[in-house]
């Protein structure tokens, strides 16, 4: 990247040398394996939004200096953030009656796994409690 600001000739030279050094450093012997565990999604997104406080940021910034993988993710997320920053937030069309999300998810699973096995969902909202009550009342009588 070429700097466009006001630098004297020596600073310009050091800027160019630094550019070469940093790119070589990254493509050289510094690998993501050498820096331990990658940052979790929660920490990365909070860092990109500037939400981490000073104490939390110290280890995160140190990690980003050494870990090209996490740094690249944060850089791409900043670009994404800026790309969508000027676009108005558009929500989906509000439906009169909420569609059952389990139906939506079952449809997605069917596409991925090739069947519509809703049993994989451990949770199901009770659907017709009143109907069940009616049935039990009928049985009692």
């Amino acid at each position: 990247m070429n700097y466009q600001g006001i630098l004297n000739s020596e600073e310009l030279k050091i800027e160019k040398l630094l550019n070469l050094f940093l790119n070589a450093r990254v493509s050289g012997d510094v690998s993501s394996e050498a820096v331990g565990e990658h940052l979790d999604d929660d920490t990365i997104s909070a860092f990109v939004e500037g939400d981490l406080n000073r104490e939390e940021s110290v280890p995160v910034i140190k990690h980003l200096v050494d870990c090209s993988f996490c740094r690249n993710v944060t850089a791409e997320l900043v670009k994404l953030d800026l790309h969508f920053a000027d676009e108005p937030v558009v929500e989906s069309v509000i439906e009169e009656v909420p569609s059952k999300i389990t139906q939506v998810l079952n449809g997605i699973l069917a596409k991925i796994f090739g069947n519509n096995d809703g049993a994989v969902f451990a949770h199901q909202e009770p659907e017709n409690e009143s109907d069940d009550e009616e049935e039990s009342k009928t049985e009692k009588t």
């Binding site: 940093l22 929660d42 997104s45 740094r71 900043v78 199901q124």
Partner: protein, 335 residues
């Protein structure tokens, strides 16, 4: 009871009323998300533990934790907890508020619409969770703490899903190579790998070798002497190719520590701490880094490598002349 758990118990007790207030506020605006006080409390306690573990010395004060809790995106957290619990209404709200955004981000990142659709589907399944551990479904939402916005967190989840998707189809490619093939990194990696030119005719010249070795060692030392936030700024600009306005965006939040490290204390800033960071400000930060590096670079060449002022100038001159040389590039790479 360990000293750590005693500390946590004390902190939790101090923050109990604040957690009560958060629950009351969130529950009032979204009473049908099916979140119990205990559910929110337990999530916030988990986040406080994580915060305490990262705090220098591991002992934040009650004031630190209260300030930390005040920064949590509580409404987003409440929605995420509702979704983690499988609440229909919470999922409906989530779908209405965020699906459109997820789709646009996925389309922007993925190469084809098919990929984008696949990523969104995968993210939905991951968010809901299909794995059951000890009788409980493991939802990705449970890992969201409210530290950043839900939308920012979703961007990160999408990004990682896309990388995983590519890895699945290119199992032999390393993680680092993979990230370079997603989003704008693709073009960037091609730039980095470009052959910089033919063999330099002067490589064998002894003095050049000597100066070059001293130059590489000194620039390494100079960069290593910088503080972490300065190094990160330079890496974002030179390696990740972030533009000045993108770096400005990163430090836009007035409480961003990265921003506070760079900004000197001034009366103007004290009056208006939230003032916008312009591209020219980032330029000035970079300029300071270059000056600092130049100074250390020169000192290193003259003190450690015993070079005269003229020789130091030759080093700088040679380094910039050699920039287009493959051999110089290789030399730097293997240092």
């Amino acid at each position: 009871m360990t000293p750590e758990s005693t500390l946590h118990s004390d902190l939790f007790r101090e923050c109990e009323s604040q957690i009560d207030e958060i629950f009351a506020r969130c529950n009032e605006s979204a009473p049908n998300f099916g979140i119990t006080h205990e559910c929110l409390r337990s999530s916030l306690h988990r986040t406080i533990r994580k915060f305490a573990a990262r705090h220098p010395g591991g002992k934040p004060s009650a004031g630190d934790v209260k300030e930390f809790l005040a920064q949590i995106h509580t409404e987003d957290l409440f929605l995420a907890l509702g979704c983690a619990g499988g609440n229909e209404r919470a999922w409906w709200e989530f779908d209405q508020q965020h699906r459109n955004y997820l789709e646009r981000v996925a389309r922007h990142l993925a190469r084809t619409d098919v990929d984008a659709e696949e990523v969104v589907d995968t993210v939905y399944v991951e968010l809901y969770g299909t794995r059951v551990v000890d009788g409980e479904r493991v939802s990705k939402f449970a890992t969201y703490s409210g530290r950043g916005s839900l939308r920012g967190w979703l961007r990160t989840v999408i990004w990682h899903s896309l990388v995983d998707l590519h890895r699945a189809s290119h199992a032999e490619v390393s993680l680092d190579e993979m990230t370079e093939n997603v989003g704008e990194g693709h073009a960037h990696s091609n730039f980095a790998e470009t052959d910089l030119g033919g063999e330099d005719q002067m490589v064998d010249h002894i003095s050049r070798k000597r100066y070059r070795k001293a130059t590489v060692s000194s620039i390494e030392k100079a960069f290593g002497s910088l503080e972490s936030h300065e190094k990160l700024l330079l890496l974002y600009y030179h390696v990740e190719d972030l533009k000045l306005r993108e770096i400005a965006r990163l430090v836009e939040n007035p409480s961003s520590p990265l921003r506070n490290w760079f900004q000197r204390k001034s009366a103007t800033r004290d009056k208006n701490p939230g003032s916008r960071i312009h591209e020219s400000t980032i330029m000035r930060w970079l300029e300071k880094c270059y000056s600092k590096i130049l100074q250390i670079f020169r000192d290193e060449l003259s003190s450690t490598h015993s070079l005269t002022k003229d020789e130091v100038d030759i080093c700088l001159e040679l380094a910039t002349q050699d920039l287009a040389s493959t051999s110089f590039y290789r030399n730097l790479s293997t240092t």
